[in-house]
């Protein structure tokens, strides 16, 4: 045996290798994304880290007794090791523990609820499936804080919280719930869990839908009991999806701000994100340390996630052959299970909508009599004269609302197109070069924006844009939105591409079909619904995003959510509820239209 020894590097050889490497579109894509994502995600990270060791002007410099702009470990010492007045405990350790509890609980709730529904919908002959899968994504479409608001207004009573008024549950049904149910860790985790349960539904459902039924059938033949099959066979198969869900929900819950404020503050329950926000006012250095801790946690789970899902990498399901899935018959249990599910969904997904509608037509809070109702907040005129409140016209007659709606939609569509397309390209590159270091870098980088709390992400981009004269207005918002929501698109892109056997593309390559045509004519049409979901998820998230954009919008009337927030802050709850409903209806309409036209929908999203 004479093994060939690598020869010395000659110039032509190196050039040839480089040319061969660059002739593969996957390599070029990965290279471009490596460069741009480094700039767009690592730069913010680095600048954020530099904030944690910089003394800022104002109160920070005064408290630290150090010159503004100097480098110091003061913030770390102060946040982590100040015993006086229990400072560290109050500002960091206690909220940190609360954050852990709430985020873990929210993840578990999301996985259990979303996973169970996913199982029922994909693997059983459950009744009302269509309704269930359509309505299930509603809580995700609503801004999470509106769900929190709903929870409070529905369940509050005079024995708990502010102890001032009764919600519908107490006033109509005379059920006075205990405080732990309405305020604090439990409702925060539950609301976040419900809000993010669609992630579990999408990811776990994706696996269950594509899972080879033979695996379960084989066990059935071996006379394994049904629960045992689920426990020993189905669960391990969906474990990677469950971990992915855990990662997504945990990271999101950790940086969720409004829900803990609404449901936590009456009982003085604080989490890291609320501390981060209030520290940002006077002590940005400490605030950025908290951001750093959040990111660190996200990265740790991401690494764990990667370790577990690595073995899944060779998992391809679309090869050119197709199989059948047998559905479990629920039998007698079908109707009760379906009914319970429908009722639960009505409660968490439809009732809030009705409440928003109701709250948008009553004049004085808490009075639900017809005499107290008006459509003025939707279509009224001269309101400031008659009601001495709010804008002069109802939201549907207000050109500012229509402008904001147009802007929001334009922004959401742009972000969706950019993020979605990039997601497909990242998916293509990563799947083609899977196992290579370049691919895993790009894969991780493209997920990274997800781990950055929106508020901090927006602040850093604002600072970044100040040095780039042309990065302004719509362009800036679109860039931030696209980067922030790339993770959704890249996840669905990577998953869709991994499911697609390489031969499918090679079959076209060999007949000389150029790359763009392979993408447009072969790859995209085959995984159309997965890819389109990669467009939809950023769109939905963008439509209801607030904290990411709040610092970047030219005026508060620019997008619907800042307008909504402003109305709520001013106490014009009716306008706020009306706009909230408008957002949800628009998103539902878009989702419905896309679904009817192409068959794609959010619920087919991340996992494909």
């Amino acid at each position: 045996m004479n093994r060939v020894q690598p020869r010395g590097l000659s110039f032509s050889r190196a050039r040839g290798q480089a040319r061969a490497w660059l002739s593969k579109p996957a390599n070029i894509i990965l290279l471009l994304f490596l460069l741009s994502l480094t700039l767009l995600t690592l730069y913010p990270l680095v600048s954020m880290l530099s904030e944690t060791v910089t003394i800022h002007t104002g109160r920070e410099a005064r408290a630290a007794k150090e010159a503004a702009g100097s480098l110091s470990l003061y913030h770390f010492q102060r946040l982590f090791a100040t015993q006086e007045n229990d400072y560290s405990w109050i500002q960091f350790y206690q909220p940190f523990l609360n954050t852990l509890i709430v985020s873990i609980a929210a993840s578990v709730i999301a996985i259990l609820f979303g996973g169970a529904v996913a199982f029922l919908v994909t693997r059983t002959d459950l009744k009302y499936k269509k309704f269930v899968s359509a309505v299930f994504t509603f809580p995700y479409i609503m801004p999470s804080w509106t769900l929190a608001l709903f929870w409070e207004t529905f369940f509050k009573n005079v024995n708990i919280g502010l102890k001032t008024s009764n919600g519908i549950m107490a006033s109509v049904f005379h059920v006075f719930l205990p405080e732990w149910f309405v305020y604090g860790a439990f409702p925060i985790a539950l609301v976040l869990g419900l809000h993010y349960a669609p992630f579990a539904y999408i990811l776990i459902g994706g696996i269950l839908r594509n899972m080879d039924a033979n695996l379960e059938e084989a066990a059935t033949i071996l006379k394994t009991s049904r629960p045992r099959i689920i426990w020993r066979i189905t669960l391990p198969i969906v474990k990677p999806a469950m971990l992915s869900t855990f990662l997504l929900v945990f990271a999101s819950s950790m940086s969720a701000y409004s829900v803990p404020v609404f449901l936590g503050s009456p009982v003085r329950y604080y989490v890291l994100s609320t501390k981060m926000k209030s520290l940002m006012d006077s002590y940005p250095g400490q605030a950025y340390i908290i951001v750093g801790v959040m990111i660190l946690f996200g990265v740790a789970i991401l690494l764990l996630n990667q370790k577990v899902t690595n073995s899944r990498k060779q998992f391809t399901t679309v090869t050119g052959k197709s199989g059948q899935i047998s559905k479990i018959r629920l039998g007698k249990a079908n109707r009760p299970v379906a009914l319970i599910l429908v009722i639960v969904l009505l409660l968490v997904a439809v009732l809030p909508l009705i409440t928003f509608a109701l709250e948008s037509v009553i004049i004085k809070a808490g009075d639900y009599s017809p005499a107290n109702m008006t459509l003025d907040f939707w279509i009224g005129r001269d309101l400031d004269q008659r009601l001495d409140q709010g804008d002069s016209t109802g939201i549907l007659l207000n050109p500012k609302v229509w402008n904001a709606l147009g802007f929001s939609l334009g922004l959401a569509v742009t972000c969706a197109v950019v993020a979605g397309t990039c997601g497909i390209l990242v998916g293509y590159g990563v799947a083609k070069r899977r196992g290579s270091r370049l691919a895993s870098w790009v894969n991780s980088l493209s997920f990274f924006p997800y781990l950055m709390p929106s508020l901090a992400f927006g602040a850093i981009y604002l600072a970044m844009s100040s040095r780039i004269p042309w990065l302004r207005g719509f362009l800036l918002l679109a860039l931030v939105g696209s980067v922030k929501y790339l993770p959704f698109a890249s996840r669905s892109g990577v998953n869709a591409m991994l499911q697609l056997s390489g031969e499918i593309e090679e079959a076209a390559l060999i007949t000389g079909v150029p790359w763009w045509k392979r993408m447009v004519r072969v790859i995209f049409p085959i995984q159309k619904s997965s890819f389109l979901s990669g467009y939809l998820l950023p769109m939905v998230s963008c439509m209801r995003e607030l904290s990411l954009f709040v610092l970047l919008v030219p005026t508060s009337n620019t997008i619907l959510t800042t307008m909504l927030m402003q109305y709520s802050e001013k106490g014009w709850a009716q306008f706020g509820n009306a706009i909230n409903l408008l957002i949800i209806v628009v998103v539902l309409l878009v989702n419905f239209t896309v679904n009817k036209l192409t068959g794609a929908s959010i619920d087919k999203g991340v996992g494909g």
Partner: protein, 364 residues
């Protein structure tokens, strides 16, 4: 001039060597099979020739045109190599009808619509799938999908056709049928076929020449029957033929006598035997062990495996297991005593290196 020439081709994935220093000449209009167990590098080799994989070292020439040269930095993309590729999983595009699947590549070659229509019709007819023209792949059976895949590959009329285990997803009967079709197709299309399989029978029946590989290294490259009768080494000998060759440890004496399993036989060969005594492995094909009452040797029957056309008989000769094949349906009672003799050829291999020393006949 060979249609395809591989010179010192190697492929490494990091530290793992998939293909090592491969030299191969494939003649025009040949039907070559790359054969070996899974992971031996055969698919990688095929993909390198097609341009789907970039070799680490070496040069590849197709039709006198250098398509790859690591040193000169030449690397033609697959579509510039004028080749066709038939994939293991068919790789039919699920969103296109049968017609569209076949026509897509031709549209891309800027053929006129009429010409495409004509060509597709021709192929549909040739592969007997006319009635499925408007169907989608999911609406076809495995065999039909395979035919569509073949039609699609043949459509542009490639000079060289690569096939990567194209029949492995079919059932035994269909596979037999498709083999016949492929061999016929090879004649009709007048092109060079390179075929990857792990099924030695497929290689034997289809190809004009077989290239057998193991762990990235070429073991033997020869016409199938030559490979069968005169395998280059123990690996090839073992891989080719079913039931497999009998291997018995033995010793070759200075005088050309062979001692194995208590048998002393004269080994007559036209090749020059190495001088001195040496440890060898004697390889005897089952069909060259003849069971007949006049045989000089005796053994007990361990078990009989009739399959209709032939019967495999496992013999036990003082602890030495031998497999014999008898034509027709013959039943020997278990544990009965039979006589047998060696016919035709045996091959002796060096026990240390496994290499073929010589082929010859055995006279007990």
């Amino acid at each position: 001039m060979p249609a395809i020439r591989l010179k010192n081709v190697a492929k490494r994935f990091g530290k793992f060597v998939a293909v090592d220093n491969l030299n191969l000449d494939i003649e025009s209009n040949a039907f070559i099979t790359l054969l070996g167990p899974s992971g031996c590098g055969k698919t990688t080799t095929l993909r390198m020739i097609a341009g789907l994989e970039t070799p680490t070292e070496g040069t590849i020439t197709i039709d006198e045109k250098v398509v790859f040269d690591a040193d000169k930095g030449i690397n033609l993309p697959p579509n510039k190599r004028d080749v066709g590729f038939l994939f293991q999983n068919y790789a039919l595009w699920p969103h296109m009808t049968v017609y569209q699947n076949i026509a897509f590549g031709l549209e891309n070659l800027k053929w006129s619509r009429e010409r495409i229509r004509e060509r597709v019709d021709e192929l549909l007819k040739m592969l007997k799938i006319e009635q499925f023209e408007k169907r989608y792949p999911a609406e076809l059976s495995g065999g039909q999908q395979q035919r569509v895949a073949i039609a699609r590959t043949l459509a542009p009329g490639p000079k060289v056709l690569f096939m990567d285990e194209p029949l492995s997803n079919l059932d035994a009967k269909l596979r037999m049928e498709m083999r016949t079709e492929l061999k016929r197709l090879h004649r009709d299309t007048d092109s060079t076929f390179v075929y990857v399989t792990h099924d030695q029978l497929e290689a034997m029946t289809l190809s004009t020449k077989v290239c057998i590989m193991e762990t990235g290294i070429l073991q033997q490259y020869a016409p199938p029957l030559e490979m069968y009768n005169n395998p280059a080494n123990l690996f090839v000998a073992d891989f080719m033929g079913n039931p497999t060759m009998n291997f018995v440890d033995g010793q070759l004496q200075e005088d050309g006598m062979l001692l194995f399993g208590g048998i002393r036989a004269r080994f007559a060969s036209q090749e020059k035997l190495p001088a001195g005594r040496r440890d060898v492995v004697v390889g005897i094909r089952p069909e060259y062990i003849h069971i007949d009452p006049d045989g000089a040797l005796k053994a007990t029957v361990y078990s009989t495996l009739p399959s209709g056309m032939e019967t495999t008989v496992k013999l036990d000769m003082q602890g030495m297991q031998l497999t014999a094949v008898v034509f027709g349906d013959v039943d020997y009672p278990v544990d009965s005593m039979v006589h047998f003799s060696f016919h035709k050829t045996a091959v002796i291999f060096d026990r240390e290196t496994g290499k073929n020393i010589a082929r010859g006949s055995l006279n007990v």
